[in-house]
Structure formats: C-alpha cells, structure tokens
C-alpha cells in the first residue's frame, strides 16, 4: 500500500493555517533569513516557502523584486522544487535543472531560467514539513555539504521564528 502524499495531509495543512503562514504580510525576520541565505551562498534568490496542497506560498524572499513571483507570492505546486522536501523530509539539491529528470520541463526552468536549487525542509516541532528554505540561481552550480549545513542552520532559525507565532 502506498504512503499518502504528505502534501494533502490535513494535519500539516491545519498547522500551516494555525501558524498564520498564509498571510501576504512579510515577517522581517524571515526576510532577513532569506537575505542571509542568498548572501552566504552567493545566489540571487532565496525563499522561505510554505508548500500548500496545490500551490507554494512565498512567506519571505530575497531577490524577487521585479519578477512575476513578487506579484503572485507563489505558484502552482507542480512547478515547486520545494515540494520534494515535503515528501522526503530531506534536503533537495539540483545542480543543473535543465538536465534534471523531474524539472527539465518545469516552466520555472524553460521560461524563467532557473538552473540551480538547494533547499532544506522547515520542520515544525509537531513534525510537519511546512516548506523549505531555499536558494535559487540562473546558472549551473554545485552545492557542498557545508552549503547544505548552512541552509539547515538558517532553516532552524526560520522555524524558531515561525513557531514563536504559536506562542504569540
């Protein structure tokens, strides 16, 4: 029997709503986490993403001003690199999206030029993967273990900030 897809887990979706992660308001601390991730890895874009059932919501971002993503604050989940981590609970790295079997035909790659991606899951204290902290670039790029470890540290910081909403 196949395991249910966690994207559609009611408990995970309920926690996303409970943590007030659906708002268009941008938390300045999460924005700062995204900026630091982009800076540390030398990439133009970083997102604190919340993966919903059929869409990705951008809770905070660095480097998307002027892009359509800044207007929409999200996109369909079928284009999402971040959704992989929701399903696997593990970091997801794509060094060359043009040749990746899951993303070579992704419009974010074919239309918007995404070439590299590294994301780590945002795991709540209740054990749900809410989304990812990720970095995105327009050129092929290898990512080291240190890069992923750094993203994990920043992701932990983002989760602490998000969890503080529960107590607020």
């Amino acid at each position: 029997m196949s395991r249910p897809d966690p994207l559609y887990d009611a408990g995970r979706l309920a926690e996303i709503a409970d943590l007030d992660l659906l708002s268009d308001d941008v938390d300045p601390i999460l924005r700062d986490v995204a900026a630091r991730a982009a800076s540390a890895l030398g990439l133009p874009v970083s997102l604190v993403s919340v993966v919903l059932d059929e869409a990705l919501h951008v809770a905070a971002a660095h480097g998307i001003d002027g892009l359509w993503l800044a207007d929409t604050r999200g996109h369909p989940v079928e284009w999402s690199f971040c959704a992989t981590s929701v399903r696997t609970r593990a970091p997801f790295v794509v060094e060359n999206a043009e040749t990746h079997p899951d993303h070579a035909a992704n419009p974010l790659v074919t239309q918007d030029g995404v070439r590299c991606y590294a994301g780590v899951p945002l795991v709540s204290s209740r054990g749900h993967v809410l989304g990812n902290l990720c970095v995105v670039g327009l050129e092929e790029r290898a990512f080291s273990g240190e890069d992923v470890a750094l993203l994990r540290e920043l992701a932990d910081e983002a989760v602490r900030r998000i969890e503080a909403r529960r107590q607020g």
């Binding site: 979706l13 919903l52 869409a55 929409t72």
Partner: protein
Amino acid sequence: MPPPPQHPGAIPGYGLTPPGEPQARDALRRVFGADRGDGCWDQACRAVGLRSGHVLARPQFETAVRALAGQGGPAATIARSLEIRLRTYDRLAAHAAAAHAGGQA
C-alpha cells in the same frame, strides 16, 4: 496591465489554466475525503448565497473561495492555494497578452 482573458486557455510556455469549481472540489476531496470535502464546498457556497455545482463565473468562484478561507484550518490553506493559482494565472496571462500585443505592434 491588460485584464485576464474572459475565456481563458492555457498560457503558452506555462501550460497553466485557472482553477474553477471542479478543481476546488477535487482539492477538498483529496484532503478531507469526498463527503466532508463536498460539505466544505457546499458550506462555502451557501455562506455567500451561491448554488454549489453552479459556480461558473470567475467573480462567483472568487467569492466562494474567500468564504472557504473563512472556515479556517485546512480549508483556509486550500483556499489560499486556489487564490495563488488564480493570481499566477492572471499575472502570466497578462504578461503573455502584453508580449503578444507588443509583437504585433
């Protein structure tokens, strides 16, 4: 920015079409199961004076989705997904229309 097309097709290059009532029902059923999922949608429609199964126009659909968001919990998250998909469709469709108009100029 040009308004989105009245009879939307898939956006070239992105293959995206806007969600409507069938997609909303499917999304709710995936999370809640058929009975409870249909119940959520029926409740959202009733709350804004719409007849479930007959939400055809875009403005009506948006109104029902806002009512769905008001249910909170997973229903609110699903409503947000639908809103993002609508917003993305509109933004990319407007860009495609503008690019087409620019190409014809």
